[in-house]
């Protein structure tokens, strides 16, 4: 984490706002994510000059224009690859990737996968509105099967991917999920991502007011959301419900929802975000509404050396061993001969 320029100055969220007019639709979940992230960065007094936001193309990918940091609004799907270049070129920088479900998982799925497996030190925030917003409403790889959109008037025939599960398939070292309107939990998750070394992946359920407004009602409706979400806490059992009256229990190879009244709390599944085996987190990632409450918070947070650390480590080791490279030595390596 880079130090603030002048540690005596305390940043405010306003310090992270640019002079650009924010151009998302009214009611778009992107607004909230922007505000929360600005708050989190300010609260931590992050050095704006050593922070880079890289995005692809999509509504969500306009994000860098609104962040008073360095930034690249790149091309569709390629943000993780570009960010990898930034981070390798200067590991001192805090590098964030902002992407959409289409940008990050459709055209950009491969870079997403490989960035994660390499554990490059990037924070990847995926704004999942389950739709292509910018291109005006086609279904995306996370859209529900059967959804009717401009490109699926008879209902989509694609099965959706689940971003956290995909990330875990590539053994991501940090995976978390939040909802755009749940600002407090969103802040916590963003903070945790900020602190993680290695690839930190955060999926945010984001409302697209114009093309997919109903997608996350179940997760945002004040009256019912607590029955549909379960907040993950490390070392704690999975308990949820408006009155925290329900829990998740392991039954053989499967999970099930139980009434706390009827079971002992000891029977509940205990969350362990630090277990090295990604299978635990993967099982949580398979809990889908409406059969299950969907887990929110940190699925997994483990440590292993980052890509850039290993890269620079090899260079340092070589220099340590053989001394710093000299051009004349390089030039004359191998057989040489003289012509007089």
């Amino acid at each position: 984490m880079s130090a603030p320029l002048d540690p005596t100055l305390v940043a405010t969220p306003k310090d992270f706002k640019t002079d650009q007019q924010v151009k998302w639709c009214p009611g778009c979940g992107d607004h909230s994510i922007l505000v929360q992230l600005q708050k989190v960065l300010a609260a931590r007094n992050i050095n704006r000059d050593a922070t880079v936001f890289v995005s692809g193309i999509g509504c969500s990918s306009r994000f860098p224009y609104y962040m008073e940091t360095y930034g690249i609004h790149s091309i569709h799907g390629r943000a993780p690859a570009i960010a990898t270049g930034v981070k390798c070129a200067n590991p001192e920088l805090d590098v964030w990737v902002v992407t959409g479900d289409g940008d990050g998982l459709s055209i950009g799925g491969n870079h997403f996968l490989h960035t994660i497996r390499r554990n490059v030190g990037l924070k990847i925030i995926l704004f999942n509105n389950r739709i292509y917003g910018l291109t005006k409403g086609q279904y995306s790889p996370t859209s529900e099967a059967g959804i009717r959109t401009k490109s699926s008037p008879a209902g989509s025939i694609d099965y959706p991917v689940h971003p956290v599960a995909v990330a875990l398939g590539a053994e991501v070292t940090f995976a978390a999920r939040a909802v755009d309107t749940d600002v407090q939990q969103l802040q916590i998750v963003l903070q945790r991502a900020m602190d993680h070394q290695g690839t930190a992946f955060v999926e945010v359920y984001q409302n697209c007011q114009v093309y997919n407004a109903d997608a996350f009602e179940w997760a945002t409706d004040r009256n019912t959301r607590l029955d549909h979400l379960v907040y993950l806490e490390h070392g704690k059992p999975l308990i949820f419900g408006k009155n925290r009256e329900k829990g998740i229990r392991v039954n053989g190879d499967n999970l099930e929802v139980v009434e706390l009244a009827k079971v002992s709390p000891d029977d509940l599944l205990i969350h362990d975000e630090r277990t090295p085996n990604p299978a635990h987190a993967f099982r949580l990632a398979q809990m889908h509404y409406p059969e299950f409450p969907e887990p929110m918070g940190v699925f997994r947070a483990v440590q292993k050396p980052t890509y850039e650390e290993l890269m620079l480590g090899q260079l340092a080791a070589a220099r340590e061993q053989k001394g710093p490279g000299k051009l004349d030595k390089l030039f004359t390596a191998g057989d040489t001969w003289k012509v007089a």
Partner: protein, 625 residues
Amino acid sequence: MGTTTSTKVPAGQKPGPQVRELSQAAVRLAGDSGDGMQLAGSQFTATSAIFGNDVATFPDYPAEIRAPIGTLAGVSGFQINFASREIHTPGDRVDALVAMNPAALKANVGDLLEGGVLVLNSDEFTAGNLEKAKYDQNPLETGELSRYHAFKIPITQQTLEAVKATGLGPKDAARCRNFYALGVLYWLFDRPLESTTRWINGKFSKVPAVAQANRLALEAGYAFGDTTEMFTVRFRVKPAQLRPGTYRSLTGNQAAALGLVTAAEIAKRPLFYGSYPITPASEILHELSECKTFDVRVFQAEDEIAAMCAVIGAAYAGNVAVTGTSGPGMALKQEAIGLAVMTELPCVIINVQRGGPSTGLPTKTEQSDLWQAILGRNGECPLPVLASRSPSDCFWTALEATRIALKYMTPVVMLSDGYVGQGSEPWRIPDPAELPEIKVQFASDPKTFEPYTRDANGARPWAIPGTPGLRHRIGGLEKADITGDVCYVPENHQRMIDLRAQKVANVIHDVPDQDVFGDDGGPLLLVSWGGTFGAVRTAAERAREAGQTVSHIHLRWLNPMPRNLGDILKRFDQLLVCELNMGQLQLLLRGRYLVDTCGLHKMQGRPFMVSEIRDKIDELLGGAA
């Protein structure tokens, strides 16, 4: 056999073989993929280079990793041209051919000059091998080789015999037969054994028996020439008058890698090389992966797109950022290259061209990516393009590409090709003083900084993340002049299109005026670019030696083109554009300068032969002068 300059029989000696002095000779070693021909060829090259000849080589091996033994598909060849004068090509046809089996003979004998020396490993001309090579009859017996000086030597047997003392098993022992053959060649061309002996000792220092066996085989081959009565003639090619200095041999890809490391060192910035393996460019990746004592950050990406994108990120963050690939990979990078053009970030894209279209002939050479380099992106998307003309020139081209990228804040395409990238030649190790200056000046003043202002060259400032107060955002949408904000204003788009075009046009200030080899005007000008330099220049030299009025220009810069190019073109009656494609440079020259041209094209996965160009010259000039 090049130009036979003199024939002398040393006086007062038993009538040994005649020694013929040549100004130039070409030899080819050919055998099965497993026969070690590439290695033997490299040794011959090194020995000749150290001896003082100018040398040029052409390795040619199969696309398969391990094609079935003894088949035509599995033949691997290595050709060396060495001379007592300056040469530019590995030679069209060869003066001597070593064929380690029937397949190697069949695939290569057509390139042996009439009267040339043919060394055959007679042990391998078995019924089975003849069948694999699709010979109905044994060519050693049909008389079909009578046009050549054919020498049937039981190389395998002789090798086994020679290395007996080492106690190696027959399989390992037989592996030394390439050194036996090399020994024969060394004798034939009167080369010293020292360099190869030294190499063997170094290479096999941990397996002394193998070292000894290879040495013994080499010496046995040499001794065979000395003692047998078989050979009636020996050849001698004197050292050349080369530019004084220290030399080493390297391939074009190695040279490119060296050039990049050098550029980054001079610029005092880390080198970031993002690449995805692809023939024939992978060697650059391998070479740079070895440079760990320099600050060379190698990223093997998941694909070519990721490589190009990482390069953009690394360039934004202040590294000297480079990617390398070949044709299909270049096609994949184009969208991202457009982003580099729009964001005006300095980076270099190396395209080691190969045979296309599509996967095409992946291990063969071609020059058919010129159009895609200059014109192959969406939108008006100009960038500087230059091409290297020979293996060692890749060093200078890579250096220059990097310098231009940094000076003008632009992606630059460097075109190489399979022939140049994989071929090798002596490289005169440069003095540090010869190296160009490359100064990197990052923006630093928050008071005056705007991301899209321009300096005298038209370059925008390079403001890297981490710099206090220079926070700014770039991207692929059209940018407002000066501020770099996203801008849809119609007039601004035109202005930015013009500014980007002007910046690339400004590179002309770094493009030297075109020099003409030969007369400044006349009946015929040969025009070439890239890896065909050697063949075309040689053809021009020979034609002029033969009294033909032919000039030659070789373009290093394809975009922008030299300022005086149009004038030069207009001073000639006929323009012959020689390229390993169907007329890509031709279209550009015609379109830009409205000059009529004719083209010499070749799409065979192989470089031009000098004779092909000379034939065309003859045709255009109405027969030899």
